[in-house]
């Protein structure tokens, strides 16, 4: 009846996962109870869970990413404290548990923290910056989000029911094959990623279509913001790369479930092929994360320097160059696998060349700041922290791209320090910069600057204190993923990294305090004009928070920085442009399709992990039935009457007129 699932699946004898799991379950139950008792459930269902509004979906993506970031961070704290304790000792985490923690840390941070935050920010900002009302396929967008949530849920269920993979975050065979990993850990990994991977692929298709086909009148390609360009590049990468991941993991699943031999030792299988294919996805994935991050920094640096971005066109060219070359470097993840000099030289050189594109961008940001009137707001601090940190990470990357050096540093903590240097310094700093930058647009009030700045400085210092010692430990020969060690020379560096993680904990606490304080002080921090940062692109042309239809009248774009020009014109003439003629607006109706599909996909995934075959069938049939039910819908849109649009836009215009009157006499 229940396949492999028995009461023994719950780790009764291991206190750490059991207690952690129970606490999480209690918190979730408490939140649910609070929502139900307060009567918020109908509101949540109508306005958020079934929402197809790109802004709401973006917020939910970012929230999911933030919660998972916290989960992955707790894993990181456990690893650093285990290594600090486990010098000539066993530490407090047994090896099989420690292995699960580093696997879960990598999986969660990449797939369920970084990806959702990046996709969430794209969801929120791209349609606004393009000057349109929604993405190309709104219901698909909602389904993408809920499928990602399914993956995150499955990974977290593994904490309490069964176990997670002990193989590292990319489940290399033969270790992940059935003979060496007979448990359900690898299966949790496979189905979580296969299901959420479909969601990510659909997001990619959605955004490529949106950016190529749905733009405000006059918004030609070379008038789009750099964030839209990087979003386009990242989503092209998603469309081309995620099928490789899905196919590779599907082949591993066939090996494990149906006795195939793609990646086994017997019957002509070759596990090297897995490593080759997974990195053919894996390297583009790095740029899927970091290109939108570059886009966020471009927006932030230009806004807070009060200048247009330096050399916009070279920025576009560098973005598309990175997009293409990112498909020609993947072997640098396995230089040591046995390929000869020609192959290693080719991929080493292409890896060094891709750094040129990033170098162009670094100079463009520096020259944007040069001569600008810089305001050191929190998003700008994150961006400047990024510039310094990312250059260091990039340099160690170019060092690792030299095959002979890589043979020495492969799988060492030097490598670990390098990729944390670029991912934390690049993607995570961008996530925080983007969240602080667009938060007032999303919710109508700014985040508290004081706590934000403390959080930034603690994160920056904490980052260096954790990872600079790990570079040294790596050069001293310490390999990654060690549960315990007995080399005295490594000890001090590991201890310093342990101190660093305490600073990072304080930083994370400040971030949480920042949100709590900001929400409590929201009336003081209110953004009335819709343009709290003196912005330049179209998202600041509407109110904060924007109405469901984003713009009362689609903006007519006539230059690279459309909103900046509208604003200049208003200041010069001391009046807004004439009131437009308002017309009713058709918007897509909310739909529970995404949520219900994801519910049945969760069921299918869970059943596949535990071999509960009747439930697999039920889940697939039900998920398909939901799709058919959605396809047969009669009413797809609802109409917002012209009076409501007018009422809304007049309120916004009034706020802008007040602002103009207060700032009369300001030089144009």
């Amino acid at each position: 009846m229940f396949g492999k699932l028995t009461w023994q699946a719950i780790p009764w004898d291991q206190p750490i996962p059991l207690v952690a799991g129970s606490v999480v379950v209690l918190i979730v139950l408490a939140v649910l109870a609070w929502v139900v008792i307060k009567g918020y459930l109908p509101y949540l269902w109508r306005e958020w869970i079934t929402s197809v509004d790109h802004k709401r979906i973006g917020v939910m993506y970012t929230l999911l990413g933030a919660v998972m970031l916290l989960r992955g961070f707790i894993d990181a704290i456990m690893m650093r404290s285990q290594q600090a304790a486990a010098f000539r000792a066993a530490g407090y985490l047994p090896p099989e548990h420690y292995d699960q923690i580093f696997s879960a840390h990598g999986t969660i941070m990449i797939f369920f923290a970084a990806m959702p935050i990046v996709i969430g920010l794209m969801n929120f900002a791209v349609p606004l910056q393009l000057g349109v009302r929604d993405v190309a396929f709104p219901t698909l967008n909602s389904t993408s989000f809920w499928l990602t949530a399914t993956g995150a849920l499955l990974v977290n269920i593994s904490l309490v029911i069964g176990e997670f993979a002990r193989t590292g975050w990319l489940v290399y065979p033969p270790l992940s094959g059935l003979p060496y990993s007979p448990g359900v850990g690898v299966d949790y990994y496979l189905w979580a990623l296969l299901i959420s991977g479909v969601g990510t692929l659909m997001t990619g298709i959605n955004f490529v279509t949106t950016i190529l086909k749905i733009r405000a009148p006059g918004m030609s390609y070379l008038r789009m913001t750099i964030f839209c360009w990087t979003a386009l590049a990242a989503n092209l990468l998603i469309v081309a790369a995620f099928p490789i991941l899905t196919a590779t993991l599907a082949m591993l699943a066939l090996d494990r479930y149906l006795d195939f031999h793609f990646f086994t030792n017997e019957a002509g299988g070759n596990m090297m092929m897995f490593i080759n294919l997974i990195w053919a996805w894996g390297h583009p994935e790095v740029y899927i994360l970091v290109l939108p991050a570059f886009g966020i920094f471009s927006e932030v640096i230009s806004t807070f320097s009060g200048k247009p971005l330096f050399n916009y066109r070279s920025m576009v060219a560098a973005t598309m160059f990175i997009c293409l070359v990112s498909y020609m470097v993947w072997l640098h993840h396995f230089f040591t696998m046995g390929a000869g000099g020609n192959v290693n030289a080719f991929f080493g050189i292409s890896t060094s060349i891709i750094a040129v594109g990033t170098g162009v961008k670094i100079y463009n940001w520096l020259f944007t700041m040069y001569g600008g009137r810089i305001r050191f707001a929190t998003p700008m601090l994150w961006s400047m922290g990024f510039l310094v940190t990312f250059v260091i990470g990039g340099m160690t990357g170019v060092l690792l791209a030299v095959p002979p050096a890589d043979f020495l540093l492969h799988n060492s903590l030097f490598l670990v320090a390098h990729f944390h240097n670029v991912i934390i310094g690049g993607v995570l700093f961008a996530a925080f910069a983007g969240i602080t930058y667009w938060f007032p647009k999303a919710f109508g009030f700014k985040l508290d600057e004081g706590w934000g700045k403390i959080a930034f400085w603690l994160s920056l210092i904490g980052f260096y204190v954790v990872f600079m010692p790990l570079y040294v430990a790596g050069l001293l020969g310490m390999t990654r993923r060690l549960q315990h060690y007995d080399v005295a020379a490594w000890r001090p560096w590991v201890l310093v990294a342990g101190i660093g993680i305490i600073i990072m904990i304080c930083a994370a606490a400040c971030q949480v305090v920042q949100f709590v304080v900001s929400i409590r002080r929201r009336d003081e921090l209110r953004d009335e004009t819709g343009d709290p940062w003196d912005g330049r692109s179209l998202e600041w042309a509407t109110a904060s928070p924007p109405p469901p239809f984003n713009f009362a009248v689609l903006p007519d774009v006539r230059g690279e920085e459309p909103y900046w020009e509208i604003k200049r014109r208003a200041i010069e003439t001391q009046q807004l442009s004439a009131e437009p003629k308002y017309e009713p607006i058709e918007m897509p109706r909310n739909s529970p399709t995404g949520f219900i599909t994801a519910f049945f996909c969760t069921m299918t995934g869970f059943a596949l992990i535990w071999h509960i075959w009747w439930m697999v069938g039920l889940g697939i049939v039900a998920a398909y039935a939901v799709f058919v039910w959605f396809a047969w819908r009669d009413v797809t849109e609802y109409s917002i009457p012209a009076e409501e649009v007018a009422r809304f836009d007049r309120a916004r215009r009034q706020a802008r007129e007040q602002w103009l009157a207060q700032h009369a006499g300001q030089p144009a």
Binding site: S220, G338, A339, N342
Partner: protein, 131 residues
């Protein structure tokens, strides 16, 4: 820095909307029929070349590859309506990007996998060591 002009970029139009209106139903059907006949002919030809003496034996796989690529071309032109018209730029670019990525991944994988034993001891030496 900003290039303010009042003109909109004429080359930047939504693709795919024009050709549907221009074709009559008859022309549309004719296109599909031509495509279908060509596709069938190419399929038949690939079965034919397998057992023919028209082509030099070792050249048969090459002939099959050529016929397969021609088949893809027929599908793209007659069924997926890829043209060189300006309104098709996005589709052509997407196709080119897709072909490039597939070529890179497949070609790269073949090259890498072929190279994996480069640093291994030659087989006969290994055999000698086992004696």
């Amino acid at each position: 820095m900003s290039h303010e002009t009042n003109a909109r970029d004429p080359g930047d139009v939504g693709p795919g909307f024009m050709d549907a209106a221009e074709l009559t139903a008859r022309e549309g059907i004719a296109r599909y029929v031509i495509g279908f006949v060509l596709a069938c002919a190419l399929t038949a030809a690939s079965f034919y070349v397998l057992n023919t003496s028209l082509i030099w034996g070792p050249g048969i796989p090459v002939a099959l590859v050529v016929l397969a690529i021609a088949q893809m071309g027929v599908h793209l032109v007659f069924f997926l309506h890829i043209t060189t018209a300006p309104d098709n730029t996005n589709n052509v670019l997407a196709l080119a990007f897709g072909v490039l990525i597939v070529a890179l991944v497949i070609g790269g994988s073949l090259w890498i996998m072929d190279h994996l034993n480069e640093n291994m001891m030659p087989m006969h030496q290994m055999m000698q060591m086992q004696r």
